[in-house]
Symmetry: C2
Subunit: 201 residues, 2 copies
Amino acid sequence: MVETDKKRELIIEGAIKRFIHYGINKTTMNEIADDLSVSKPSLYYYFPDKSSLVLGVIDKIFSDYFELMEKDQASKNSIEECLGAFVEIRHRFFQKYYMLHLSGGSPDASLNSDGLRAAFLTMKAKNADFHAKVLQCAIDNGEIAPVDALKTAELYLDSQAGITSLCLLHGNKELFPSKKEMKTILEKQHQLSKIFIKGLK
Amino acid sequence: MVETDKKRELIIEGAIKRFIHYGINKTTMNEIADDLSVSKPSLYYYFPDKSSLVLGVIDKIFSDYFELMEKDQASKNSIEECLGAFVEIRHRFFQKYYMLHLSGGSPDASLNSDGLRAAFLTMKAKNADFHAKVLQCAIDNGEIAPVDALKTAELYLDSQAGITSLCLLHGNKELFPSKKEMKTILEKQHQLSKIFIKGLK
DNA sequence: TTTTTGACTGTAGAAATAAAAAAGTCAGAA
DNA sequence: TTCTGACTTTTTTATTTCTACAGTCAAAAA
């Protein structure tokens, strides 16, 4: 059974490589299989369908994300420092996995199955919980004034994601945002983040 | 010539009525003409093409918007009160003219001609200037700390528009946002607005 | 001269259809 | 238990046809 899990991981990693370059919809099960030098039915032996594979991919990516976030949190001592670092982490993940359209609703119909939508909402909730925890720490430390930590974390994340969503909407309609757009997003997120935290004091 | 301007206004108002219900793309020049009991070439006598008419419509709507904003500003004395009232005004306009997709980039290809895009950017800049003016007042009053008023106004408006953009992206994919979504947007905008202003003190 | 119109044209987008590609299955081999 | 070649079914894409709309014009009305 441990061998099976290993194979599953291998397939997920192979899928991610393709997804990063071509997106989910433009990657076929055959391509993933060929990359790994196995047949398509082998893939279907480990994953009942493509959606399940994508689900596995999303789980993997977010597990990496949360691991990184938690590791980074430990090394920071002020809430400003902490959230500033988080902006950077989110930005890196956003850039790396942009083709998977993991941020926000599905622009094209990449992830529109019920299962994927649900998984994505779970991750969003987990992210909100994580940020709420960080805010609660800051409240307990007296760094910021007492507020509903979860509600505030959700608003904070919405404001951050809103910036991204807005910039992409206005920006060039290429399939990939330009270097300059990316920089603008990052800067605005940092600025907004700073003002937001200050507004919580 | 004053008669001509009157006719133009009448056409614009007729066009707005149709646009509000069916959107720009699903409204034909013939329908607008029929509503006004004139022929299509009459419309083309006053407007060289449909884009020009849409441009006229946009000018009218934003002129109403800015008029209302300026009137409202006069009756408020704190920056919190002022921006809170502005959130409400923007929300009303957003709701009323939703079908024109005036907020953010063109979701479907409603306004994609160069001229319309330019007009829209002009309005956005005007709005930023207006909000910058309000912020500058607050700075001069000592209500908030000194900052680059224009840059801050732009960030503020982006954060507000970002909330809208994000909620619409996640929400139901009907052609019109639900009552509940609208309420959520408004609430989040108010909350974010309050924290933002507090963060500027 | 200014404004309006009926009758027209070319084009852009919708609808329909055909072709291609990809998801998913299965009997059987390793 | 894990894997495969050969297959079927569904989805996507490309192509064509058709329709409805934007925009024009010569001429009439004001």
